[in-house]
């Protein structure tokens, strides 16, 4: 396949187009501006629609509308803009509308810093909005992976009728790398996908009360509402069984295991190689789906050998580390290597963190 040189944001947008995304609405915010800007150029070429919404809220709701009519649709933003979308995402989860959105995380809280961070982990994985719904959350650590995960995200969204989140960060969004792109889905397939949703999509139906489309992000009747919650739960539970994605790298004989996602995961992988070269048996667990979280990967660690786990993330306070701890269940020490506020994880800091564990200094 031909290598092309692409920026993360643009690669995500192109992958979406190739997956059949034909509606994008977004609002400017650094460091994800290249996503809407790319769609602005690209959508007219494929007969899709790009709109710059008047706000993040308008944008997510435009996507909620487009997706409710069966169109593959997407929005994106960064951190504080994602907070604004949380009501709309919650609506989509409640009404079981498939849509994809991307958070190119920056420093926080608040307006924070426009530089890269991983400070929205809990929001992404535990509480994308009100009401306790869950989503599949993909965390790419290279531009190529961002492409592949985005491309696949639309299938998951449609399968589950649920929002799917691409949890990127400012590094992934703004860096450029050689990548190869998946095939463009033919128009016929894209049309077929839309047709397959007509049974529930809101586009007009013959006069037929019970079979009309009624997109319901809530229910008058509490029994119906609970039933909707229970049905959603079944979907969420199936992910744990079928859809966990993780990179397990040299954990079999590891005396120390690094764990990190997204850009930190990539930096950690490089650190593992350096540590191995230096004679330290390091391994890595890098969740690719941070929701569902790959708990069982941590069961593969040989805790008799393993001196400790180093959980690495660009967030203070630590967030990802809480899930790592849940997975490790006190079978060995978990320590953290953190930075935040737009500072990028330093490989050296990771290596130092590992050494501290090896030397029993934590």
């Amino acid at each position: 396949m031909t290598r092309i040189f692409m920026k993360g944001c643009e690669a995500i947008a192109e992958a979406a187009v190739r997956a059949g995304c034909r509606f994008f609405a977004g609002y400017p915010i650094t460091p994800q501006n290249e996503i809407p800007e790319y769609f602005a150029r690209r959508m007219p070429e494929v007969g899709g629609v790009f709109i710059q919404g008047e706000s993040e809220i308008a944008s997510v709701n435009m996507v909620y509308g487009a997706a409710s009519s069966g169109t593959r649709a997407m929005t994106s933003s960064s951190s504080c803009g994602i907070s604004l979308k949380s009501e709309g995402i919650s609506y989509a989860a409640s009404a079981r509308i498939p849509m994809v959105y991307c958070n190119v995380q920056r420093g926080g809280p608040g307006v924070g810093a426009i530089q890269p961070a991983q400070q929205d982990y809990f929001q992404a994985t535990k509480a994308g909005g009100n009401g306790g719904f869950r989503m599949m959350v993909f965390a790419p650590s290279t531009v190529q992976e961002a492409i592949d995960l985005t491309y696949g995200a639309f299938d998951y969204a449609d399968r589950d009728r649920n929002p799917v989140l691409i949890l990127a960060d400012g590094v992934i969004g703004t860096m450029m790398e050689p990548v190869s792109l998946p095939e463009m889905k033919p128009e016929s397939e894209i049309e077929a996908i839309k047709q397959s949703k007509l049974k529930w999509a809101c586009v007009g139906h013959e006069l037929d009360y019970p079979n009309r489309s009624w997109i319901e992000p809530g229910h008058w009747n509490t029994a119906d509402m609970q039933k909707a919650n229970e049905e959603a739960l079944k979907v969420y539970e199936a992910w744990e069984v079928n859809d966990v994605k993780v990179e397990e790298y040299m954990i079999d004989d590891a005396e120390v295991v690094l764990s990190a996602y997204g850009i930190s995961g990539r930096i950690a992988a490089a650190a593992v190689d350096k540590l191995r070269a230096a004679g330290i048996k390091a391994g890595l667990i890098r969740p690719i789906t941070v929701s569902p979280f790959p708990y069982s990967s941590y069961d593969k660690i040989d805790y008799k050998k393993c001196k400790g786990i180093l959980s690495i993330e660009m967030s203070i306070p630590a967030q990802f580390a809480e899930d790592v701890k849940s997975a490790v269940k006190e079978r060995c020490l978990v320590s953290t290597c953190l930075c935040s506020g737009g500072n990028i994880m330093s490989e050296q800091a990771v290596i130092d963190g590992v050494k501290k564990i090896m030397e029993g200094r934590v």
Partner: protein, 183 residues
């Protein structure tokens, strides 16, 4: 083998373009891995602009190293900011037209280039970055001279009128770089 390069200067000096041309060439005309990572602040103009290029035979971890193998520095504030990141034994490409201060490290190779002046002589201050790119390639040979030129050419294809000027700038840079390598 992995090379970590940082290019830094004023916004408007074509810092990002320089880095991107380099990385783009690696992508399209070699088998190596490469990353390009721009660093930005809130301000659209003014202050320093910089970017990182990592070129490697293997997988690349962080797209910005903490310790640089090479620096291309286009102004004084950037020199102050980045000099300490250059590894011992590393190479500093310095546009000395704009820089008055002393480089206070002995453990590095210093390539001084009167690049602003060269650009002005060639006829346009805007080709400053292409001069520097030429010097860098001429000196390091990290990429084939033709391959980099192809990238420049393709990227400027929509402004073909600018090609001769850029060609001149690139070649002046190459010559300067080759000559310094010779020394």
């Amino acid at each position: 083998m992995e090379t970590n390069l940082c290019v830094a200067g004023f916004g408007g000096q074509g810092i990002m373009t320089l880095g991107k041309f380099l990385a783009d060439t690696v992508c399209h005309r070699t088998e190596k891995n490469v990353t390009f990572f721009p660093s930005y602040g809130a301000e659209q103009r003014g202050g320093t602009a910089n970017c990182y290029v990592v070129i490697s035979d293997g997988k690349i971890g962080a797209p910005l190293g903490e310790v640089m193998d090479e620096l291309i520095i286009m102004n004084e504030p950037s020199l102050k900011k980045f000099l300490k990141t250059l590894k011992s034994g590393g190479t500093l490409f310095l546009n000395n037209s704009l820089i008055n201060c002393e480089v206070e490290r002995e453990d590095i190779t210093l390539i001084e280039i009167p690049a602003t002046q060269m650009a002005l002589e060639i006829g346009n201050i805007k080709v400053l970055n292409i001069v520097m790119l030429g010097v860098y390639i001429g000196y390091t040979g990290i990429l084939s001279e033709e391959a980099v030129w192809k990238t420049i050419e393709e990227n400027l294809s929509r402004k073909a009128s600018l090609l001769p000027l850029n060609k001149k700038a690139y070649e002046a840079g190459l010559a300067y770089g080759r000559e310094r390598r010779g020394k």
